[in-house]
Amino acid sequence: MIQFRDLHKGFDGQVVLDGFTLEVKDGETMVIIGLSGSGKSVALKHVVGLLHPDAGDVIVDGRPVSQLDRAGLMALRREIGFVFQFAALFDSMTVAENVALGLRRRGLSEETIAQRVGEALELVDLSGTDDRLPAQLSGGMRKRVGIARAIALQPRYILYDEPTTGLDPVTSAVMNQLMVRTRERLGVTGIVVTHDMRSAYTVGDRIAMLSEGRVRQVGSVAEIQATTDPVVRQFIEGRPE
């Protein structure tokens, strides 16, 4: 279980998270929606300790992330797969090397690594691209390699940062399908940060709307679709005012 507890974070005097509180249950996929710059990605990065909170904390399976020592943080990160907005693949490495990097850190045998890389690439429909460099891939393919890199680790949690941003509708649908397939096959708990409502409705068990640094509303897909909250309605309908 991942719990965001009264999380506060600001940059250069500007408040981004202002008492963000949310609970993500085991096995569910929680989608965090909100305007660009509302702090969705900032909240996500606190889960793996990439950012340190000004106040409050994120609790992962009872472990307060900001209190963990170096070894504790490394152990936590081994349980979490993180899919970055622009994939964050290593330019100088091939697709297979990118996917294998996290596995090497876990001290697995080369045989096991090769097997896991093959399985992960197959799951994201990218078998046969092992020797390609990231520069030779399309944006959608790069994001799928990012997912393969995360799922190859067989994590307990997967965090997706804007997985469909910048993709065409068809590729976005493929990504959504992939996230659903990943949850069904691997049974992982997921957090998806997005402002793409089609994606949110497809992959989410529950949706939380982040506004002014805190959760405005959280509920099932049906509850969010039926909301009467004017701010949430405006966002999900994409109305300018």
């Binding site: 990439l50 170096r70 964050a88 693949l89 330019d91």
Partner: protein, 253 residues
């Protein structure tokens, strides 16, 4: 005015504190041999071996010019074999390490800052962390070790190249014989010259890579930020080399 001085002082203390944290984290990273061990050889090739052409090019022409200028200065006043002494001593004590250091500040410092800066702004450094790697062990320690070991190696080869081109110039353009050049070379030689050059150039290599890594990992703001870090890395490395040059001259000579 007082307000501005106060703000500058606070900023300086903060910067020093951040750098202290960086060094402490580096201390932890050094223990992670499993991560940096295999990567260090790759960096030794990239930072050292790949820098040889530019370093040897500079040294070769420096040797030629030193021989000619020494001959111009000493002709008619002191025996010409002193040309060998000037070429050897100057290449070892000053021009070999400093010119190579400045060239590598441009080549290596810029390349390290640009590479790490790009990795930072494209979240590759964050990705390393989420894969349970320590970015300092993965990115910084191999470069620091490679710089500290390989810059002296490149400098030594540069010194040898400069002395050889100085000798060839003396033979072909100054009518100086090989025994006379070697006599001059031995005339003022001390073993201390060699280790002075090695210590100095090792400190240059460490500084160039440390500055490049530090500025690269602090990059913010996309392509513009990468450009800014790269330029700063070259300027600060070059200035640091000149300061270190003076420091070692005071301390060791």
């Amino acid at each position: 005015m007082i307000d501005r001085i106060g703000r500058s002082a606070v900023a300086a203390v903060r910067a020093a504190g951040r750098f202290g944290h960086f060094l402490a984290d580096l201390g932890h990273a050094v223990r992670d041999v499993a991560t940096w061990g295999r990567l260090t050889l790759v960096q030794m090739r990239r930072l050292g071996v790949d820098s040889l052409p530019v370093a040897l090019f500079i040294s070769a022409f420096t040797g030629i010019v030193l021989a000619l200028q020494a001959s111009y200065t000493f002709t008619g006043t002191v025996p010409l074999y002193v040309v060998g002494a000037v070429v050897g001593k100057t290449m070892m004590l000053e021009l070999g390490p400093v010119l190579t250091g400045l060239a590598l500040a441009g080549r290596v410092g810029a390349s390290v800052a640009a590479e790490l800066g790009t990795m930072k702004v494209t979240e590759q450094v964050d990705a390393l962390e989420t894969l349970a790697y320590d970015p300092l062990a993965y990115l910084v320690v191999p470069r620091l070790l490679a710089g500290t070991v390989m810059v002296p190696a490149v400098v030594v080869l540069g010194i040898v190249t400069g002395i050889v081109t100085g000798w060839l110039t003396s033979m072909s353009l100054l009518d100086l014989s090989t025994p006379e050049f070697v006599k001059g070379l031995k005339f003022l030689y001390q073993f201390k010259d060699v280790w002075f050059a090695l210590v100095k150039s090792a400190s240059f290599g460490l500084t160039i890579t440390l500055v490049g890594c530090r500025l690269g990992l602090r990059t913010r703001g996309g392509a513009e930020g990468v450009g800014r870090s790269t330029t700063q890395a070259v300027v600060i490395s070059a200035m640091s080399i000149l300061v270190l040059d003076a420091f070692w001259a005071v301390v060791l000579l």
